[in-house]
Symmetry: C2
Subunit: 418 residues, 2 copies
């Protein structure tokens, strides 16, 4: 895979130019894209190389894929649906403009499921083309995993960053809610839609986040003796496969051996119950956010999406308000979880990427944190017997993104050493 | 002015058809628009009348103007800037789709200032064409005030609903934050942008909100003896003109005479200080939300907007985070205000609409509530010596929208009787 940290170091040291770095990514896309199908479209090669020549800023040399749910002034934006064929935005989404401002090269639009919900696009898992890459940020995760690009932008409403990152074996970072702006993305659920990032390793995704935002998000050295890790024994712990649970235990054992404090944390009933509120909030808001699309283009939607929107439309405002109250309480309870531990670890998904391309898997292990707004990151580095990645999810207190990324990068380094 | 309540009652009673009601509004637009210039464009008359013939739902017969900051699939959407000339969205903003679903007739796009910030459009104050209608929801307020339409949709980030409602002498309702969806509007500041409504009277705007959302928001009878009203003595009380302060005192005196409890409420220091945090949050977020527009079209922006965006771009994330913390504390403090009173009353603006069309006035008396998210409504019904409206702003606890609308409608009825 291409490493954000290595490329930035090379460019800074003059070992290669930003243009050469971007060109290497474009060559990698040309080589791997026919097998992986991670991109909906790519930007003009000559224009990209010309821009890279004069690029300045902390992301100069970094080729970035953008989920096709974000507006781009220079590329059609289809939101994964034929309804938006030919849709050419007049401007860039905020996160895209930020990436360009920082000198990054927006090389293409990556495949998303339909409206970033469940119906898959064409992308295949780079580790085995018969398996799903996960979704909804399918192309962003797969393009990084396939070594085509060092960095990608995605979104998560349920589990759309952490799950594909886990299935594809890359670092996927869902920041604290609204750390990254959602302006200029197609809204599905305004209380849940969260912009996030992909890169090869946790340290890489932290470096990408830092350069993109100007916030202190680099992975810093961790003092193992002062790190308290909770294994999150959620109500759905046993819904994870045996090898996925073993992956979490493996990381926990390595951390304990290295001197960290590891303990079990039982899920409070309130948080187990809050998982149910996610669907009410998501579907009610989707029913409004996509009300115009439903009215105009119902027949061009997948059955699953249509059903969800009609369900959402039928939810009474009072029921939605009740779910929002549960979410508010859950946010407080999720904060309380971190009074005795610095981070929680848990499965990123129920198991490795399922076989088949007709589904992208389920967000069961992710949606609670989308609801509560806590930062999460997928730690790659473990594989099952078939060589498919098993990701471990690290979760931290709201706003503790840097601490989380630092701890997760340290955990990944233990896997490498182990 | 056209009354939402009267039209709905007439249609329900069979006194006139929905088509006739919409046609009356279209005729009124034809008659008054040349003087007021409230609309950027209107929808096709024949199509509107045809739709109205078969319209069902609680808004059938109601002609609605939509601020040209919201996407409409059937009308160009320019956001008050030549940058977006020719911009034809493929779908409707959520609030527009809701209005259509409820049977409302979306008759046209109303004038907004540039990107709903300060640079004025062409609209004039219906009470005196030499005076500003206020902004940024200039056309929405003016079109209702001029009797062209019974209902309009607008937005407020600083004071863009309450101020033009006050200047034009109509009811403007800024709901609790996110009670109405902002999806499909051009974002300026995602933490502050609030969708709101205009109608002739407070009772009318409450009826409009009820029919639009399906939420219980009707103005209900008030028991004066159980109503506790606070006159909000903010740090900027004396920035209001003498006749504006007198307008607030007039309403307070009428309410006291009618049996309500009236007391003074002093502004906590925390809330006075929070007023300053508004600009930091707004400008930082606008610097990101419009980053693509700035990069591509800086030269086509007004100097004031450009300056604000560049200022916003220069704000450090840590400074923004500090302002957000102040805002969070302000929300708690704003809730505390209502432990002893049900509603607060205060000026809607520093005074009547200023003369001249080169500015739309200032949001000084509004931005605290945009920051804190409390519901507000402008109560019309008082005029200065020159016949220009002076609005009184009613504010309630977050989520207490119906209580606020009920109390405000009662206050307006006292003005009518008095």
């Amino acid at each position: 895979m291409q490493s954000v940290i290595s490329i930035l170091a090379d460019v800074r040291a003059g070992k290669r130019t930003a243009r050469e770095a971007v060109e290497a990514s474009l060559d990698a896309i040309a080589a791997r894209e026919p097998d992986v199908l991670a991109f909906e479209r790519t930007a003009d090669r000559a224009t990209l190389l010309h821009q890279a020549e004069t690029a300045t800023g902390p992301l100069a040399g970094i080729a970035i894929g953008v989920k096709d749910i974000f507006d781009t002034f220079d590329m059609e934006t289809r939101y994964g649906t034929p309804i938006y064929a030919g849709n050419q935005p007049k401007s860039d989404a905020a996160i895209v403009a930020m990436a360009r401002r920082a000198g990054g090269a927006i090389v293409g639009k990556t495949v998303t499921t339909e409206f970033a919900y469940f119906t898959p696009g064409k992308t295949r898992n780079p580790h085995d083309p018969a398996h799903t890459p996960g979704g909804s940020s399918s192309g962003s995760a797969a393009a990084v995993a396939a070594g085509m690009i060092p960095a990608a932008i995605g979104t998560q409403t349920g589990g759309s960053i952490i799950r594909p990152a886990s299935f594809c074996g890359v670092a996927g970072y869902k920041p604290s809610f609204r750390l990254l702006p959602a302006t200029g993305m197609k809204t599905f659920s305004w209380s849940l839609d969260t912009v996030g990032l992909f890169a090869a390793s946790v340290a890489d995704v932290a470096a990408f986040a830092t350069a993109l935002t100007g916030r202190p998000l680099e992975a810093e050295p961790v003092e193992p003796a002062s790190l308290r890790i909770g294994i999150y024994r959620s109500a759905i712990w046993n819904d994870a496969s045996q090898d996925m649970r073993a992956a979490v235990q493996t990381i926990a054992a390595l951390a304990a051996d290295a001197g960290a404090t590891v303990m079990d944390v039982t899920e409070p009933d309130l948080l187990a119950a809050a998982r149910e509120a996610h669907a009410t909030i998501q579907n009610y808001e989707a029913g409004l956010a996509l009300a115009g699309d439903l009215a105009l283009n119902e027949s061009r939607m997948s059955a699953k999406l249509r059903e969800t929107l009609l369900e959402g439309t039928a939810i009474a405002p009072s029921e939605y308000d009740a779910a929002r109250r549960i979410a508010r309480h859950a946010r407080h309870a999720a904060t309380e979880l971190f009074s005795d531990v610095d981070i929680l670890i848990k499965p990123s998904a129920p198991g490795a990427a399922p076989k088949g391309l007709e589904t992208t898997g389920v967000p069961t292990f992710n949606k609670l944190w989308s609801l509560a707004g806590n930062p999460c990151v997928n730690v790659p580095g473990i594989a099952d017997a078939h060589g498919l990645p098993l990701g471990v999810q690290v979760v931290a207190r709201f706003g503790q993104d840097q601490r989380m990324l630092s701890a997760a990068a340290w955990l990944q380094s233990l896997l490498r050493a182990g």
